[in-house]
Amino acid sequence: GEKVTVTHWGQLMYGAPYAVAIEKGFYKELGLDIDGVLTSRGGGTTMRNVMASDLPYGEVALPAAIAAANQGIDLAIVHTGVGTAGEILWVTPNASPIKSIADLAGKKVAFTSPKSVTEMLLIMVTDKHRIKVDGVAAGGIGQGVTLMQQGGVVATPIMDPVWARFEDKLKPVFWTKDELPAIVQTVGVTTRAFAKDNPDKLRKLIAARRKAVAFIYANPEEAAAIVATAYDLDKAVARRAVERLVALRYWSDGAFDQAAMDNMAKGLQIVGEISGPVDWSKLVDGSFL
């Protein structure tokens, strides 16, 4: 069978709809033979995987898609994946005296890597509260937790399902959803050539995902079980994570939210990743929704 590409499959929850769509046979219903998921640890690597794979379609981080487009890669954004970064939160150990964003002022706070979404969010949040923190690049979510446990930083970003595993040891300092407007994290991309040659197939791919998203919202319990199996996660952890994300309406049905996309572009300008506004008209193609 064919394989779609999804960033951070097995680690982060972007992939839940794909797991459900495969497991519940939504692809099959539409005559598609999708039986697996390619992945990588994110960013440009996933983007490259999409372009290199036999089925050049997948869900990648929006900044990676923008970067690729800026380098002249001929791609089209065909749907929204995860339309919010609200699930990301900064946490601190239970025993920590830190209680609010204001308490972070002047302290060392982790983000994952330079110019990443977490750095962007941290800057946006601290700017909003007019405080200065000493940002530290930890290298990843897990590394950030380790670093915090060793006292290297007072707070570190986390998200489900990792958060679900640490809920009893760590406490939130702030949630992005409480601080910032919606920001598109991931989008579905394909090559222009594939879109032109296989418009129907593309439509079906998107439709199957949409059906899976609807299924998750309707049957969170069963969806969590499917994700737990696909990701090899503890069942309880998966359930808690899915519940929380359902409440957040984390997974988009695919429709574009211009403002949420612009928010990401703004953030990327803040961290210096891009120099000007993005011309979405050249990138986005909503005709397959």
């Binding site: 983007m47 990676a64 380098q71 290298g139 060793q150 290297g152």
Partner: protein
């Protein structure tokens, strides 16, 4: 230059030219291959603008630190273990398979022990380099002709003077092999750790450029790294030749 040197240069030049032609002629996928001339131009502009300086300094610093520590520790460990044949035999299987371990996986552990920043990176470089130096030291000490320490005994020299004035210089050629390997391994370890885990340094910069589809910068930085490795190798090779020159027959 020697005849071999000339032929070697010719081969390298031909390879570069072939790559240039292939890239320009569209033989290779666009975006995959960038003509070497453009890579060199890009590197030149990066160097002139100083964009890579901070990463370069950081990486070289990490390598130097990792390598320096590995040389001292590797030599000391080697010298001590050489004096304890039982320990040495017990260690042998571990030393021999040491390089199959994926050190990068220790990174999270290293953060625990050493905190975030350059130290865990240096530690990975060190872990890569130290065993090479240790094994070279063991080899070197093994190959000290028996008659040399015996000569020292005839002159009634103490063990420390014997170690310093007889064993060390006698083992020097092997120690130098260890130094060369340690430098190479420290480079490999530091760059790999930066590439996979870190958030700064040359390795990170290459990974970053890759992630951003910035192939031109990526190739330019790789070229820079290649240049550094070749120069360092060359310098070490030259130093070794000088060291060994007097020890070789006419």
């Amino acid at each position: 230059m020697s005849r071999a040197g000339l032929v070697r240069t010719a081969i390298v030049v031909a390879a570069v030219a072939a790559l240039e032609l292939a890239a320009r002629g569209g033989l290779l996928r666009a975006g995959v291959a960038v003509p070497p001339s453009e890579v060199a131009a890009k590197l030149w502009s990066i160097l002139r603008a100083g964009d890579a300086n901070a990463d370069l300094v950081e990486t070289l610093g990490n390598v130097a630190l990792a390598c320096g520590l590995a040389l001292v520790a590797g030599f000391s460990l080697g010298a001590v273990v050489h004096g304890l044949p039982r320990l040495r035999r017990a260690l042998d299987p571990f030393l021999a398979s040491y390089y199959a371990l994926p050190f990068f996986a220790f990174y999270p552990v290293l953060i625990v022990v050493l905190g975030i920043g350059r130290l865990p990176i240096v530690a990975i470089g060190f872990m890569f380099a130290v065993v090479a130096m240790m094994v070279a030291t063991l080899n070197g000490f093994d190959r000290i002709p028996r008659a040399l320490p015996r000569t020292a005994r005839v002159w009634r020299m103490g063990p420390v003077r014997t170690a310093l004035k007889i064993k060390l210089p006698s083992a020097a050629p092997h120690l130098f092999t260890g130094i060369k390997l340690a430098v190479a391994y420290a480079f490999i370890g530091v760059i790999a750790a930066e590439f996979i885990m870190a958030t700064s340094g040359l390795g990170y910069a290459i990974a970053y450029a890759f992630n951003n589809y910035d192939n031109r910068t990526m190739y330019a930085l790789m070229l820079l790294l290649l240049g550094i490795v070749v120069v360092v190798n060359g310098v070490l090779h030259g130093a070794e030749q000088r060291l060994l020159a007097r020890r070789r027959a006419r």
